[in-house]
Symmetry: D3
Subunit: 137 residues, 6 copies
């Protein structure tokens, strides 16, 4: 049975500050530079959500993307779009909002929510020259 992957791309924007409250101001500045600006900065994020599975012979689909879109909207976009990642996003509470931690946070909420489809990979672009990927390993 062929295993096919299908990906939906969503876009949102948010503010954040890369900052570890357990460190001194000097140490934060040394590690994170201008990303540590206490007045915040922000990004247009692009998120690629990949699920995989066998193709259903009735629909020709691995999964109805309409359902995936609703899940991603409800579990991710509504919580992060036009928000502050340090202050307002439940699944980011207590973590440094680096792109790495952001993708792991999204994985934690999406992996159970897309079932029975299997979440295969997330790819999160922070700028057009930088992205992070995670596949559940």
């Amino acid at each position: 049975m062929a295993v096919v992957q299908i990906t939906r791309i969503v876009r949102f924007n948010a503010a954040h500050r890369v900052y570890n409250p357990a460190l001194s101001d000097e140490e934060n500045q040394r590690l994170f530079g201008k990303c540590n600006n206490p007045n915040w900065h922000g990004h247009n994020y692009t998120l690629e959500v990949t699920v995989e599975g066998a193709v259903d012979p009735i629909t020709g689909f691995v999964v109805n993307l309409r359902d995936i879109k609703q899940v991603v909207e409800r579990e991710v976009v509504e919580h992060v779009d036009h928000k502050n990642l340090n202050l307002e996003v439940p699944f980011m509470a207590g973590t440094i909002p680096s792109t790495e931690n952001f993708v792991l946070g999204i994985w934690r909420v999406l992996a159970p929510a897309v079932a029975p489809a299997r979440l295969a990979r997330l790819k999160l672009w922070e700028t057009e020259n930088q992205y992070v990927e995670y596949d559940g390993r």
Copy 2:
């Protein structure tokens, strides 16, 4: 011996309707929504064809991309460009033209045709926010 992957991207456009003739009109509408329009709709498709192998020390190539381009043109593009996927494409006959089935159909014609190069992956974009991948698993 290093295994390198090389990808060629081609573009074409086609009409289709996501529709299962074994189901009632109501069921088709419920499952496929506006993609089920009996008057058709269409897309600009982008196809990424990836082959892999060792690098030939005489040419520096895994395979001469000129040959891959000719194969993809002859086996895929000529059959689908400016065509109707439901009515006119031999390798799609009898299948629902979802993106998943489309990529599986392209794999069936390309995998033998690119030999002795090994087809490693297909990535088919239906819109700029949606793509399907298959690697032969």
Copy 3:
């Protein structure tokens, strides 16, 4: 008073056939080639809608883009997305659905609908290598 232009981009897809019913089949084929396929073909269209005016000192906006988005959705996207441009689109009735005529049809419905904002330019991409522009001249 500075005149600023603001542009909103929307995307949709549709089927069409470039065909003039007043001409013979041979003449249609000679003029339009594979774009004349009677089984249709289709595209992902990208439409850039530009309006212009002075900046409102209360809002900082030429116009609230939320309003422009609603107008474009209601007047254009709902009528063309996942549709057949030859058979189903009221503002295209009686015209050959070339990209040029398509952009003129969209202008006719949008120019009055965006008032009091002034429609300054439409740019319609049919493929990533081809677009048409109209500015009301």
Copy 4:
């Protein structure tokens, strides 16, 4: 003497809130919706800076782009990259940081700074679906 335009593109990111302090919270919310989030949000901005003039027969250039890049870096990017447009950008003080006002603010600092080259147009992308243009009219 032919007049040629040359454009340099730069990218930066920033936080902002679309908010008019002269209005009530309710009125700000009604006008600006989620863009009014008091915890900020942000964007990756793309700025296209176009200058024009005759081609210098010694260099083949309208202007040495190396000089334009330095001017844009010094006058714009250093003041806005990883900054808060409401709180930290001198040329935005006292204005609502809409994209329209942002492009007018950049024009005010760049037009004299690129002389003797003539600033012909600014195009500022806030998201990949939205941009503002100004040409000095």
Copy 5:
């Protein structure tokens, strides 16, 4: 009679060196820096060719793009693709191959060749962050 613009995009690559043989080596290095490398460097160029006119009621076209594509292929692409702009391109002979002079050279060969269509604008991308435009002024 509405005036519509239609644009065709072509891509090619070439080698060049920005160098004025009338200047000393030191002066060339000071003006052109690494672009003056005597061992050459190169680019993937993207050229947008815009023609304009009234829409023909028989075809719905300003001009049949098939004809424009052939003209651009024959007059430009065949002479520059995989070529050296300093050594091999007839319409660049005797000029410094800056992007500005390149676009003016292309204009000189294309403007008469697209007649009776009217060449309205050329836009030539040298990198994804830099482009030159000319409209015949």
Copy 6:
């Protein structure tokens, strides 16, 4: 411990000629066609450098991208940007500058230089329709 991948994209341009000095001129022409032009041609290359590892709880980073950027600049970009791949690039000496050999050459210099981060994948675009990938296999 989750393994996350992070990618940095850099861009540069270079001249080259696909040519094997051990073969006759006729054989080079037959194999490489216009890519064998003795007057060179060139490309804008885009390189995606992916490293992977566990997320450091102090920084939220797999690795500080600032360090990766410096390494890629020093080990790759400085040696290839605005250069001739056949004549001037130490790590390409003695190899045919195909995209395949170019990516293998970059791997050889980057893999030790990014340590202790682990180089996971390189993706090198030669044109917007062609790329090569290598992951160390």
